[in-house]
Amino acid sequence: MLSQLSVFIENKKGNLVRVTQILKENDVDIRAIAVFDTPEFGILRLIVIDPQKGKEVLNEKGYSVRLGEVIGIELTDELGSLNTVLELLSDNDITINYIYSFVLRKEGLPVMVMNVNDMRSAKETLEKNGISLYK
């Protein structure tokens, strides 16, 4: 499974850049980022190269950070590949909490990041059906 950082931030000017600044200064490379247009506060979700270190440096600066697990799926670049994955999950009664994507620069392949209600059974279901997971 893939490690993800969730950072609690208030919706104020400059709050997002403060987080990326801290990560940059500590050489923590960001692979993916997701944040939505919530009114008061937001959860900033990050996939970074060294999540443990990312958590530590943000904690040091007073941020509430959760280091959690998400599922990363390497998709092939063809019509319907996302649909196949979602159908599999749906057929196995797994519901999705949120989903976002990023692209692996070298391989040029899209990676879907998802958080579901039952992580273990999602992982088993996907692996059993030959879907390759990104670690």
């Binding site: 993800q4 969730s6 950072v7 609690f8 931030i9 208030e10 709050n15 919530t38 008061e40 506060f41 959860i43 979700r45 007073g62 941020y63 509430s64 950070v65 959760r66 959690g68 909490n97 958080n115």
Partner: protein, 435 residues
Amino acid sequence: MIWSKEEVLSRSEIEQLQLSRLQDTVKRVYEKVPHYKQKFDEAGVKPEDIKSLRDLSKLPFTVKSDLRDTYPFGLFTCPKEDLVRIHASSGTTGKPTVVGYTKNDLAIWTELTSRVAAMGGATSKDIAQIAFGYGLFTGAFGLHYGLENIGASVIPMSSGNTEKQIMIMKDFGTTVLVSTPSYALYMAEVAKEMGIDPKKDLNVKIGLFGGEGSTEAMRAELNEKWGMFATENYGMSELIGPGVSGECEALKGMHIAEDHFIAEIINPDTGEILPEGEYGELVITTITKEALPIIRYRTKDITKLMYETCECGRTFVRMAKCHGRSDDMLVIRGVNVFPSQIEEIIIKTEGISPHYEIVVDRLGYLDTMSIQIELEDDSILDSYVQLNALEKSLKHKLKTVLGIDATIKLVEQKSLQRFMGKAKRVTDLRKDDNK
């Protein structure tokens, strides 16, 4: 430990002592302070009218503005050369209120704070760190002399400089902490950041807290974070400073030093005296002070009195933890709200820090209250659903307890202000009308 034999006098002995001391005080202020003479004359009362303790109610109240109007020394009964110490209130608006002490006043003050320290469990074996600001404020000096008097080693640290505070605490082996409760909470937080767990790595066993009111929830938090036994004591510079009352180990209210003060509870709106057990404004008359005796001082603190003898053996009347100052009370959409009620709810809720800020405003004709609270628990952090549930449950609890709707705003950890002295957590942005 009971420090003085006076603390266990019988009710009739207390009342006898109070009456004769009250009569002396009333006579003295009438003769020596023109401001009192004028007020007593206007009320049609003479010193010889005070024949019993009940007659105290014939005397007019003294309020803070009486001190301001006679700034700086107009209410003093003694010549300036008899003063050995002068303190003053912070005076956030305009002139400060000035208080003075004769040699004998300082001796009494030392006696009073010795009792408070002993009540809270301090002994000659303790090392007491005083983290109140030294200066014009009476908090630090008051407890300083009391703790020295009982034989404890006093570290006059003053407030602020928190990391150094903690280093000294660790290196000197501090066992007693004297501060405001909010500063003690902040110190625990800073200690953690320094990699020091106050509970395990420090030896602070007793907390003597004052300077601001606190709730039972706050006490539980302090005991838990520090691994200490926290007590509260009460006082104000106009009356003498800390030492007016303090909690004993039974934690059933603060014993008022009745050989030096007479306590009454009044309806703050009508001035009428309320029966025992009812909440109202605390009114205190000093009966032994030389330099600045005060007759029926309206403290603005809302509390109640309990006369039955405490399980600790002390007979002095107990005052309950203050609900808050009548000044602090917010009237929101016609509902009386004390910030202490909100604090209690916040501290009892898991996942958030005990630091908060309340902002009251008016939108059109409607009062609004929004409360900023720091999110602390990172386990619920990846889910908007759980964060919203936390907000909702807080909102619901506030609605149940206060009867009004509040907006809850979760903010980042450590983003709200921390306080070294008295915490200021309420901002009222409404215009002065209808407050």
